[in-house]
Symmetry: C2
Subunit: 295 residues, 2 copies
């Protein structure tokens, strides 16, 4: 049986999934990252976990990997991200390729999450232009542009969290004033909700935030998300927009309604599917696997 | 002698330039477009003008064309832009290629203007990532991204004029509120200056606008241009940013100083050259020619 592996490397844990050659999930396992330990230790534990998933009867035809950048995706090297302090110039592609004798591909974690969600939402017509924003601790973003992952020079990842959505309304740690991430991330929402006396943003929403004292915050957030999308859609013209993250899960319907209304009022509007991220923490693992799906 | 032709097709006039194979300017001529007349008439006048420039002794090795979109750049067809009402599905590439027996390439007018300016500002190291904004009647924009012109699906041109720079501060004809073009174009500046009693924005600047009653408008404009660049630079990470248009010509030094200061304060700052567009109306013609420069 021909199978593929998708690996999602995070700062805390590494999720490894086994899929068949159509991308259908078979099994997965999760191991701790121990990010400060050297790569040479981590790779031994990755080998073990992959071996166990494969068992004895599998033909492995490819391994896809998602990992926090900076990366050299062409050379297949992880270049010491902040979240993986022990991984200095870790040649993960060559190491896995040597051991398993199959093609191995490495991409940025936000990019593989996008690919995972596009795969999960796929329609009859292939999606060649998609945009994803994830509202977690920060705001992650990725773009599939004309069939290719959108990157800056030298495999860099664009800083979608630092486009301006409310100039002058709040300094961001990045040095900007009014950035999407500084004002609309999960962390920012928590702080804004706490200032109103709620435990966090989920608590605000749960306690009838849409009607009560948190109403303003909810609508401000939806407005800011809408502004980010207005700007990004006028640049990338995606046919699918995926929104994810904790805050989104309870408010997607509202966001969807407001943003669709707003975008459709524009003369440059081109129809796109606005969908909620559906894979949660598994998006990275699934998307990593799609890197090596047979064409 | 081997030469190339660059053609810039505008709604009012068509500029045609003759260049040598290094892109050095030799001669040019300009003819009226008569945009409402059919393409079949215009092409006869284009033939005449090209023939005259070529004379008898030239070997023509390529023709590059810049034209307002929508275009099918792959098929080489002008698809009836608003500015060229008589040009319905005009097969300009095939028509010129048939007559002159050389490669012909067609690109969007904003894109060729960018290529012209990049060529004019070229350094020892080739520029593979550049961003250009032109503040004219509207705001034109174009991006060279990892060595290729940045386009949306099906040869579409991104709407850089409709990214948000001051949400809620002014409705745009496009349906947005706070778009770059609606608030910071030459037209918008003229209206803002007239509301203060000046003839237009140039008049405001000429009459000591930087100190006098127009000071606020000037600084507001610089601020908004800076916001647009903040957002775009965090997405595209260009190594060269080119700013052009009437308003820019008298204020580039101020814009340069403020924006460089602002951008350098950001933690994601990567050095880029901020330059003023230097070719004026000739950028399109020069950039069109670069489409067919020998590699």
């Amino acid at each position: 049986m021909k199978q593929i592996i998708g690996i999602d490397i995070g700062g805390t844990k590494i999720a490894i999934g086994l899929f068949d050659e159509t991308g259908r999930f078979i099994a997965s396992s999760t191991i701790p990252t121990h990010a400060q330990a050297p790569f040479s230790e981590a790779i031994v534990r990755i080998f073990e976990a992959v071996d166990e998933l494969l068992g004895n009867t599998t033909t492995l035809t490819g391994i896809g990997i998602g990992c926090a950048g900076p990366l050299d995706t062409e050379k297949g090297v992880v270049q010491n991200p902040y979240t993986l302090s022990g991984w200095e110039n870790a040649p993960i592609v060559a190491t896995l390729s040597d051991r398993y004798g199959c093609p191995v591909r490495l991409e940025n974690d936000a990019d593989v999450a996008l690919l995972g969600e596009v795969f999960a939402h796929k329609k009859e017509k292939p999606v060649r232009n998609a945009l994803m924003l994830t509202f977690g601790t920060g705001v992650g973003g990725a773009v599939l542009h004309n069939g290719k992952l959108f990157k800056t020079e030298n495999f860099g990842h664009p800083e979608f969290g630092h486009i301006l959505v409310a100039p002058g309304e709040g300094e961001c740690y990045c040095g900007g004033d009014g950035c999407l991430e500084g004002l609309a991330s999960g962390l920012a929402l928590t702080q804004q909700a706490q200032a109103l006396g709620f435990e966090d943003f989920q608590d605000l929403v749960a306690q009838g935030g849409l009607q009560g004292s948190g109403k303003f915050l909810v609508h401000q957030w939806v407005e800011r998300v809408g502004r980010a999308l207005w700007t990004l859609v006028h640049i990338f013209s995606p046919s699918m927009v995926i929104l994810g993250g904790g805050a989104m899960s309870s408010l997607f319907d509202l966001v969807n309604q407001k943003i669709t209304e707003n975008m459709q009022s524009g003369i440059f509007y081109k129809e796109f599917a606005l969908v909620e991220a559906s894979l949660g923490a598994e998006a990275g693992m699934v998307g990593a696997a799609t890197l090596v799906l047979p064409v």
